[in-house]
Symmetry: C2
Subunit: 333 residues, 2 copies
């Protein structure tokens, strides 16, 4: 692979998370689908916000969380995502730059507010997400800087980008430029309901060679191949002849290639507080490993380490120095 300015470029919805603890009764009363991500409009966002308890506000966004984590593990990183010039937008932009990630997407014109995700965390640590996409709807092809894409070893895309209609075009443009430049394209499936919405398109991306690395959790994988049987789903993934990475919560993760299926255990966790960002940070650790030329078992172990950090506190951005954590665990990055 030719040398590059960035190890990884992320493209995703730029979202600020608004997180509150709640109980299962609240989810039922509000008709929320536990563990999933639901798209909501402005009015519903206001209604839900009114009903939610005291909040913690932390920058989020799936691909953004991943890119931040990768940067914390020493990757040279960049991000593309759309904000409005409001207070939440300022918070997101500050936080991603504070993490030393190159971020220069222009603000959306006046209109919809910056995106927010109202996240309800139940006592079991599970999160239920409700996203008002807002300014993310304004991400377009024009936001893709060809030169930056060509200069990034890996372009990382989130499945959620399929939701804002114009963002899909940005996604496809970035993927094409990357492939033409001999770069790797990675995709995370984001959410099983997201896979339900765009199954054929995601499979098309995988089968057309548009995606080289695919991240999924168990339920996303089951949804992708429409099977309840894990082994059947893994066999189907293996047949795609790409690099597949499947996270399985406390059961660890598996790395699937044409040649082998590697199982890697999860990292130890004292107490699960909030699982928001677990998959995102797993991808961060895995990509950091790939970037540093590690074998897949090490990549997955790095992913587990980063995921273990994120689920022990509220919010999907690391609160501990991940590079230090990795060094303490014996990883040479």
């Amino acid at each position: 692979m030719p040398s590059s300015r960035f190890d990884v470029l992320g493209l995703g919805n730029a979202i600020v998370d608004v997180i509150a603890k709640t109980d299962d009764d609240f989810l039922v009363a509000q008709g929320l689908h536990k563990g999933g991500m639901t798209l909501i409009g402005e009015e519903r966002a206001e209604e839900l916000y009114k009903a939610m308890g005291q909040t913690t506000v932390v920058s989020g966004g799936s691909a953004a969380n991943t890119i931040i984590g990768a940067a914390a593990l020493g990757c040279r990183a960049a991000f593309v995502g759309k904000l409005k010039s409001d207070e939440l937008g300022a918070i997101f932009a500050h936080d991603i730059r504070a993490a030393k990630v190159a971020f220069s997407t222009g603000f959306a014109p006046d209109g919809t507010a910056s995106a927010r995700c109202l996240i309800f965390v139940t006592p079991d640590g599970q999160r239920t997400m409700n996203t008002f996409l807002g300014a993310c709807q304004d991400l377009t092809e024009a936001d893709i800087d060809e030169e930056v894409v060509r200069d990034s070893a890996i372009v990382y895309l989130e499945g959620y980008l399929w939701d804002p209609p114009a963002a899909k075009a940005a996604f496809v443009k970035a993927s094409k430029i990357a492939r033409a430049a001999g770069r790797k394209v990675a995709l995370t499936l984001s959410d099983s309901f997201c896979v339900d919405r765009y199954r054929d398109e995601f499979l098309g991306l995988v089968r057309s060679g548009s995606v080289h690395i695919l991240f999924a959790n168990e339920s996303e994988l089951h949804s992708l191949y429409e099977t309840a049987d894990f082994d059947t789903a893994v066999a189907a993934l293996r047949a795609e002849n790409i690099l597949g990475v499947v996270t399985r919560s406390e059961k660890g993760s598996i790395v699937v290639t044409k040649d082998e299926v590697l199982a890697v255990p999860a990292a130890p966790v004292e107490q699960v507080v909030d699982t928001t960002g677990a998959g995102d940070l797993f991808a961060a650790g895995f990509l950091a490993g790939v970037t540093k030329g590690k074998d897949y078992t090490t990549c997955a172990a790095l992913g587990s380490l980063a995921a273990a950090e994120i689920i022990q506190h509220i919010g999907a951005r690391p609160q501990t120095d991940l590079a230090q954590l990795a060094a303490q665990a014996g990883f040479a990055l």
Copy 2:
């Protein structure tokens, strides 16, 4: 005491905390006074924000934190504080209402933004605060609802209110109404530098009978009586003939009256993450105890319990159900 609609009414600066982890070198490089609270202007706030790492945004404000904690422990609570109608203002208003605290202060007219406190947390858990007062400067006597003050068993005031010039008048007005109605007035000294700025006025309040309950930590007490000797300071406090409550971090707290000095140990803590709000939540537990007619040892133990919760995570608003925590610890509230 006549019956009342509210157990406790708080009057304070309405502030949103913007918290980042950092190291001691950063504090030195930025000329920040570790452990203290410094007032900053808008330009300095922008400069510091640019320099700070990734943030967690959580509602704060000293008296507000106390009132929220008291409400979580079953007190009927109300709060007065000034915001602007912007996103941070909306966050503060949402969070305090979500905590079931009556809050109806009108928004400040267009102009300065809602207040924010940039908080730097070092690896030892200490916090260094930098407050841009913003809309808090617009709190005036007109914001004091006589009826609400008369209908609150305890009016709780923060020393920080002495900083925005017009707020002092609001403070004095509330205190006068409360006393005339036979209510108790509590004051927290807030910060040793705050005491330095207003020592004579605070002592005047105590000695004129304007304050019945005084909260302080060790350094505030030393500053108040301008002595480095703890016993000398405690003797001076005892001579004031009020109810004095002094917090001493891991050494616990002491309750000082004319008749006795009670020492109460701190509650056990696994790991100190962020000490922001420790004093505020101690006051919350103590006031909840007073409200429920508990003896002072129990009041202080409740304070320690609430303080222990707050220092084990980022931010000064409880993340655990304090009432449940108290029940588990054997308190009957």
